[in-house]
């Protein structure tokens, strides 16, 4: 089925925000610039829809400079160019200056399968998470992306919004907190599914007694929500980007409790393959079948260990 595109929703919401809020500016480096022409935003707001050409480092510092002048800039490109290529600009342009802005990426992890490694950016969230003061959002549906964008733009602190071509069939809703999607029994394992990983995680655990929590906001991490949901010891973290990106947050949240953690995400490998995003999910064990196998094996091993004691 065709699901609504988060990227298209971003363009329409940002175009609307440009109309209603004179503090908003959109800075692009060619990627999506044509889409802002299609909405008419570039024509209506030529001083606030800025395309700098294929110059991502400049794009991010330009956004920072506009923030220093009291504006609320949105900078946008593919994840590897917005975050990885321009990381020092991200680091120094906002929190270090003491100003905010919103970075909105598209083309998450291996969304652009056939483009190959140069266009894949599974390290984006881990990188931004090294910086103090950033809010990081991973919506799993276009409706959630819209809510995230409206909230991130209305705030003052820096925000990173990771949009994906992948989407859950139905939205859960954007929240700062972990949302309980399924309640397991006493001492059931807790599965944390981030953004577009919810549907495959739900399907993978349908025969398992597990509590499933959903996250659209991963920084700040909802430690209290995780602690409240934990009645047993086992946590499975299912993230659509670099494996283990939020493992330290889970460990910190449970530092005073015995717990076991399985981190699932994009592994650190040079796969050197093309194909589709689904091909990558299969190769990385990130589709529902792969998740079922890994989670099932890990829970069985954990149970065997517990029994052996």
């Amino acid at each position: 089925m065709i699901r609504p595109s988060m990227r298209q929703r971003f363009v329409s919401v940002a175009s609307e925000l440009l109309d209603s809020d004179p503090r908003i500016a959109v800075v692009t480096a060619d990627i999506s610039a044509a889409l802002f022409r299609d909405t008419g935003a570039a024509r209506r707001h030529p001083q606030r829809v800025i395309n700098v050409g294929i110059r991502e480092a400049l794009m991010v510092d330009v956004a920072a400079g506009m923030a220093l002048e009291g504006m609320r800039p949105i900078a946008h490109s593919f994840a590897p160019f917005l975050i990885e290529r321009s990381f020092e600009q991200v680091k120094l342009g906002f929190a270090h200056q003491g100003v905010g802005g919103v970075l909105v990426s598209t083309g998450a992890s291996h969304d652009t399968g056939a483009y190959g490694r140069t266009h894949h950016g599974p390290g984006d969230v881990a990188l931004v998470a090294t910086l103090p003061g950033w809010r990081i959002h991973v919506p799993g549906h276009a409706d959630e992306a819209e809510a995230v964008l409206r909230d991130a733009v209305a705030r003052e602190e820096p925000g990173y919004v990771r949009l994906s071509e992948r989407s859950n069939v139905e939205p859960v809703g954007y929240s700062d907190a972990l949302t309980t999607v399924r309640q397991g029994g006493a001492a059931a394992p807790v599965v944390i599914a981030v953004g577009p990983m919810l549907d495959p995680a739900i399907k993978a655990t349908q025969d398992i007694d597990a509590t499933v929590l959903y996250a659209t906001t991963v920084r700040p991490f909802d430690a209290a929500g995780l602690r409240a949901a934990m009645t047993g010891t086992d946590v499975v973290l299912v993230e659509p980007y670099l494996e283990g990106t939020s493992a330290a947050e889970v460990s910190a949240a449970l530092s005073d409790r015995p717990h076991r953690l399985l981190s699932i995400g994009v592994p650190r490998v040079e796969l050197r393959k093309y194909g589709t995003a689904s091909d990558y999910d299969r190769a990385f064990g990130l589709n529902s079948a792969g998740l079922r196998e890994r989670i099932g094996a890990w829970l069985a091993a954990a149970k065997a260990t517990a029994t052996a004691r």
């Binding site: 700098v52 400049l58 923030a67 200056q97």
Partner: protein, 241 residues
């Protein structure tokens, strides 16, 4: 047209009675030396002319929305900058003595969150000019045509490729509120064959080269009209020894 307005430095009443001749002593409060080698003061004369004759600023109102903005992109070797900020009343001269100490607001690279009058926190090279381009676009988007932006870079700092993204875009977007001063002490390791001025001129900037120790020449270059285009002033000083 903002770029053709003659300079009108604010004559705030609180302005302390410092002169150019006091800068060596003020720098001495940081360095412990009475006299300073040219390499320690490559930016000093341009900074003095900017703060004494060009910038419309008032230390009593460092965040005034109509102020001119000065961006020190070349954030290292900031003693001359701090000395001029002290002379101009943004920093109490007693603060200079503790510079670079753990609790001092004055570090080896300036932080806008710690020092009134510092517009951009700098240090890592090649960020000031791109940020200044964003500031010029921000002023334009807000409809503010009065404030001007002056950005100081070094000739070695121009090695950073991000500057060249900024040089191209500033001219294409006709950012006439922006003036970049390049302090040229011939410290770029691989040099700039054909000259630095040309790098700007070929992109459509108004560009000129002056003696970076000649106050009258610096002032004339910084006040030259440049309607519709950004302006570059290459200020040549002694080669870094």
């Amino acid at each position: 047209m903002t770029t053709t307005t003659s300079p009108d430095p604010t004559t705030d009443s609180a302005r302390p009675p410092y002169a150019y001749g006091d800068l060596d002593r003020l720098m001495g409060l940081m360095t412990g030396d009475e006299k300073h080698a040219p390499s320690a003061t490559s930016t000093l004369d341009v900074l003095w002319v900017l703060y004494d004759r060009i910038l419309r600023i008032d230390p009593a109102r460092p965040h005034d929305d109509d102020r001119d903005r000065f961006v020190l992109s070349k954030g290292h070797g900031p003693m001359a900058y701090y000395a001029v900020l002290a002379a101009r009343g943004f920093i109490d001269e007693r603060t200079l003595a503790g510079w670079a100490g753990f609790d001092s607001p004055l570090g080896w690279h300036p932080d806008r969150n710690l020092v009134p009058g510092v517009e951009v926190s700098s240090g890592s090279l090649g960020h000031g000019m791109p940020i200044a381009v964003g500031m010029a676009l921000g002023l334009r988007a807000r409809g503010k045509r009065g404030p001007r932006i002056f950005c100081l870079v070094g000739d070695a700092e121009l090695d950073e490729g991000s500057n060249h993204e900024a040089i191209a875009v500033a001219a294409r977007l006709a950012l006439d509120a922006l003036t970049v001063v390049v302090i040229d002490n011939h410290s770029a390791s691989l040099g700039w064959p054909g000259g630095i001025e040309r790098r700007f001129a070929v992109e459509g900037w108004s560009a000129t080269t002056v003696d970076g120790r000649d106050h009258a020449a610096i002032e004339a270059a910084l006040t030259a009209p440049h309607p519709g285009v950004p302006h570059a002033v290459v200020a040549v000083v002694e080669a870094k020894s």
